[in-house]
Each structure stands twice: as structure tokens, then as C-alpha cells.
């Protein structure tokens, strides 16, 4: 699989480490009401779709940026990649 890195162009997926669903960017507030339940879902439950999946890849052997890659889990076709910090609005 080749990942279209927004800054570096097409890079081999081998240069990256995979974390999982990009929803992990939305970390619950640990101080909020119901934080325990929110963290249980955040840490353990996944949509795990067959089809389009937005997911986090870390360019470990490259520029060490986090990407949000949009990929089809049935065909392995990669539909796009963005810098995670842009998706997250600079907060991460």
C-alpha cells in the first residue's frame, strides 16, 4: 500500500505504524460527568466498518507526523491522507 503523504508524496505503508480508528483523536474529557463510561467506549469499542475507514497512521520512519488516512478496508484502496494536526484543528 502506498500512502499519499500530504507533504512527502507517495510513501510505502511500511514506513508507518498503525494505530486505529481516527475517532481516537476525540479523547473524552476526564473531568466530565460520566467520564468512566466515555473512556470505556473510547478505549475499547470500535465501529470496525467493512468499507471506508478513517484511521491514524504514524510516519515513524519518515517525518514522524501523524496522518489521518481514508482507506477502504474491503479493497485496501487508499482514498486520501491528511495531516492529523489539521484534522484536529491544531489542538493535538
Amino acid at each position: 500500500m502506498l500512502i499519499p503523504h500530504p507533504l512527502l508524496g507517495l510513501r510505502d505503508a511500511e514506513e508507518f505504524t498503525y494505530l486505529g480508528d481516527a475517532r481516537l483523536l476525540d479523547r473524552p474529557d476526564g473531568m466530565a460527568e460520566g467520564a468512566a463510561a466515555a473512556f470505556y467506549e473510547y478505549v475499547h469499542l470500535r465501529d470496525n466498518p467493512a468499507g471506508v475507514h478513517r484511521e491514524l497512521w504514524f510516519h515513524e520512519q519518515g517525518d514522524r507526523s501523524w496522518l489521518v488516512v481514508t482507506r477502504n478496508t474491503v479493497t485496501h484502496e487508499i482514498l486520501g491522507a491528511e495531516l492529523a494536526r489539521n484534522v484536529k484543528g491544531g489542538a493535538a
Partner: protein, 416 residues
């Protein structure tokens, strides 16, 4: 029909014209007492024990493809009970004992072969860890032996003992472990269930659930609606998709695992060898092919094929362990979809929907579990209580902070 040596001789003398299909191909009825979704190893074993051991009737297995078209027909056939944790080891040892009597039990040749599994070790720390694991196994009634380097050399003199990074210092041996014919296991259970009147319905995909006031009423399928008050889901890699139809998110990600077989070679490896440090394991099939594999690819996948990078990685592991493998040609590569759970251990439990039961999270190691998984799931479906060896496999263990994490990796499915 009972199989026997006499029968084989008789058929050989009469041109093998007397063999008949070994299960019926029935139309679905409008309702059942029990529906099992998934005609893989676990679904078929569940139907077998539900009908044979727990004496239940009006049972159907619904399979979207043909029986055994999923992981049961794709795995590398290793059976073992060499786990460490108390939630796991008694269950896998129960499975091992069921394997040891399986062929007599269902009168079918599953080619169960207790040829032994050897886990190689390379450091003092690993020796300590394996000693501890071996003791845990023995405490649970399994067998384990710690071998030193000479012990390993006596078994497999041609291994690369002096690898600079991972010199072989010994290994943990379980002699009662081994391999079994994966398809034969599925067929044996299917036949045994069919003989007790279980309807094995193929080309029947479950497309939805009918749930009223939190209670299971039946399933929508590609062959129409079928009513049932008790529905057991045993769909391995498809768990996320199927349970989403019941409105549930699962502590599971689907990942692809690849496996490999070489051309047929002369007998070389008479047991199973695992080289965990090099992400490689190997055995030799009765036809002579080297059957081997390594890690999952590591990203979410529903494609039953993987990527080149892992093929290379596994080949490198093989070369490091047994350089002679470089001379063998690869015959086939394939993949299957793993239900990777958040702690690497399975789930056999009820769900928040009354009448909906779940059997999932087998990761890359559910083949060895097939007999115990079927037995425990049938126990749960028949009695509404967990089997004594499967009590820890609860769906709510993640919420309650009671994961069963053999590898200590945390909630990161691609690391288990």
C-alpha cells in the same frame, strides 16, 4: 453411515460407489428454537454439542457461503494448550482433552496429530517467562517441558542455533500439542450435527435481526425471515458487521492474517516450531508442504488477502531460523479475517439483548479452541449459564477492568 476400516475396504473393492453426501441440504424452516449464525468451526461445533451433548432440537446453522469457507478452512491447523493466564489455560486444556477424543466422539477422521509444539527461546528472561508459563500449564493439568539447547538440537539439528541476534538457547515443549486437519474438523462436526437433525443452511446470509423490547425474535436472511428466540453469533472476522445489525459496537477490530505453504518436500519437520522473536512459525503437512506464517498485517481489513511487506517479513523470519527454507518454492499464499479483541482473548457470553448470544474475539488462535468453544457456547445457549472453563470470557470484562491480556499489550488489537 458409520465409518470403519471394513467399510473402506468394501468400498475400495466396489469402486467407491457407495459413499453418499454426508449432510442434507435442507430448505430453511420458518422457525427454530436455536439459530447459530456462522458455519465455521465454532458454529458447527456449537450445533454439534447442542444437539448431541445437551440434547436440544430444532436447531439451524445459517452460513452465508459454504460450510467451512471462512477461517476454519484457512488456518495453519495448530492445536495447543500453552497459555499462561488462569482465565485462559483451563479452557484451552479442556479443548485439548476434547481434541484427544474427537475422532472417536464424532466418528470422522480429523487427522488429529499430537506431534508437539516447540516455542524457541533466546534469552535468560525468556527462559524465566517460559518456565513460569510451563508451570502454569502443569498446574492446569496440561503438559510442559523446558528444553535446553541440546534438547532442541536433538529434535531439530538443522536450526540456525548461532543467529547473531536470536541465538537459540532452548525452548518450551508441549508434546500433546500438534495439528489437525482443519476441513476434516468442520466436516466431522457438520456431519455429527446433521445426523441429529440440525439444519445446516448454506448460502444464507443473515442481514438483520428482529428485536422487540430488547428481546430476540428472529433473523432476516437472504433466504427470508426465520424466527428464533435464541440466536448465537459465531462469525469470527465478521463479528463487528453482524453485531452492528443488533446496534452494538464491539471490543473488536477485524485484521487480515496471511499463511503460506511450500511445495511438497521430504519429511523434515515432525512437529510445530514457533520462533516468536522472528515472527515466524512452521510445521510440515502430511503431504510434505511446509505450512508457515507470522504476524497479522496490522491494519483493519476485511480483504481475505494481505500485503507484500508481511510476506517478505515472514520469509526473512524463516530464513533466519532455518536457512534451508530458502531453497523451497512457495506454492500458495492466502489470508483470513481475524476478530482481534482488545485483550487478545475471546468472548463467550450473553449480550444486552435477551436471547442474543456472542462467540467472538478468537484472534489468530481460534482453531485450537474449536471443540471447547463449541462445547462452552452450547452450554451457554442450553443452560443460560457459562461453562466452568469459560467464565472469564465475559463481554463486559473491558468495562469492569478485567481484561485477559496474555501479552500485556493493552487495548491495541494489532499488537496481540
Amino acid at each position: 453411515m458409520r465409518y470403519s476400516g471394513l467399510r473402506v475396504i468394501k468400498e475400495a473393492l466396489t469402486g467407491h460407489k457407495g459413499w453418499k453426501p454426508i449432510w442434507r441440504n435442507p430448505e430453511p424452516q420458518s422457525s427454530y428454537d436455536y439459530i447459530i449464525i456462522g458455519g465455521g468451526g465454532h458454529g458447527l461445533a456449537t450445533a454439534y454439542y447442542l444437539s448431541n451433548t445437551f440434547k436440544k432440537a430444532r436447531i439451524a446453522v445459517l452460513e452465508k457461503g459454504w460450510l467451512g469457507s471462512g477461517n476454519i478452512g484457512r488456518n495453519t491447523t495448530i492445536i495447543r494448550s500453552n497459555y499462561l493466564l488462569p482465565g485462559n489455560e483451563p479452557f484451552y486444556e479442556f479443548s485439548m482433552k476434547l481434541w484427544e477424543n474427537l475422532e472417536q466422539e464424532f466418528n470422522f477422521n480429523a487427522m488429529v496429530s499430537q506431534r508437539g509444539i516447540l516455542n524457541l527461546l533466546h534469552t535468560d528472561a525468556q527462559r524465566d517467562a517460559y518456565r513460569r508459563r510451563g508451570n502454569a500449564m502443569i498446574l492446569a493439568g496440561a503438559d510442559a517441558e523446558l528444553l535446553d539447547q541440546d534438547g532442541v538440537r536433538a529434535m531439530y539439528p538443522w536450526l540456525n542455533f548461532d543467529n547473531a541476534r536470536f541465538p537459540i538457547k532452548g525452548g518450551l515443549l508441549q508434546r500433546r500439542a500438534g495439528t489437525a486437519r482443519h476441513d476434516g474438523v468442520a466436516w466431522g462436526y457438520a456431519r455429527g450435527a446433521d445426523l441429529k437433525g440440525v439444519d445446516l443452511i448454506q448460502n444464507c446470509e443473515v442481514t438483520g435481526f428482529r428485536i422487540e423490547n430488547g428481546t430476540m425474535r428472529g433473523v432476516e436472511t437472504s433466504r427470508g425471515y426465520i424466527a428464533a428466540n435464541k440466536v448465537g453469533v459465531a462469525v469470527a472476522g465478521s463479528t463487528g458487521r453482524v453485531m452492528a445489525m443488533a446496534g452494538m459496537r464491539m471490543p473488536i477490530e477485524s485484521h487480515v492474517l496471511q499463511a503460506f505453504v511450500s511445495e511438497g518436500l521430504k519429511p523434515t519437520i515432525d512437529g510445530v516450531i514457533t520462533f516468536g522473536a522472528g515472527h515466524f512459525y512452521v510445521s510440515q503437512s502430511d503431504k510434505g508442504g511446509l505450512v508457515f506464517g507470522g504476524d497479522i498485517d496490522g491494519y483493519n481489513s476485511y480483504a481475505q488477502r494481505g500485503n507484500m511487506a508481511v510476506i517478505e517479513d515472514v520469509a526473512q523470519g524463516g530464513m533466519a531460523l532455518m536457512p534451508a527454507i530458502g531453497r523451497a518454492r512457495l506454492l500458495r499464499v492466502w489470508g483470513g479475517i481475524m476478530d482481534m479483541s482488545m485483550d487478545g482473548s475471546p468472548i463467550i457470553d450473553r449480550t444486552p439483548v435477551s436471547g442474543l448470544y456472542l462467540n467472538a474475539g478468537w484472534c489468530y488462535g481460534g482453531f485450537k479452541a474449536t471443540p471447547a468453544s463449541g462445547y462452552a457456547f452450547a452450554h451457554l445457549l442450553a443452560t443460560d449459564t457459562p461453562h466452568e472453563t469459560a467464565r472469564a470470557y465475559r463481554l463486559d470484562r473491558f468495562e469492569r477492568g478485567l481484561p485477559i491480556d496474555e501479552k500485556g499489550m493493552g487495548a491495541q488489537p494489532n499488537l496481540h
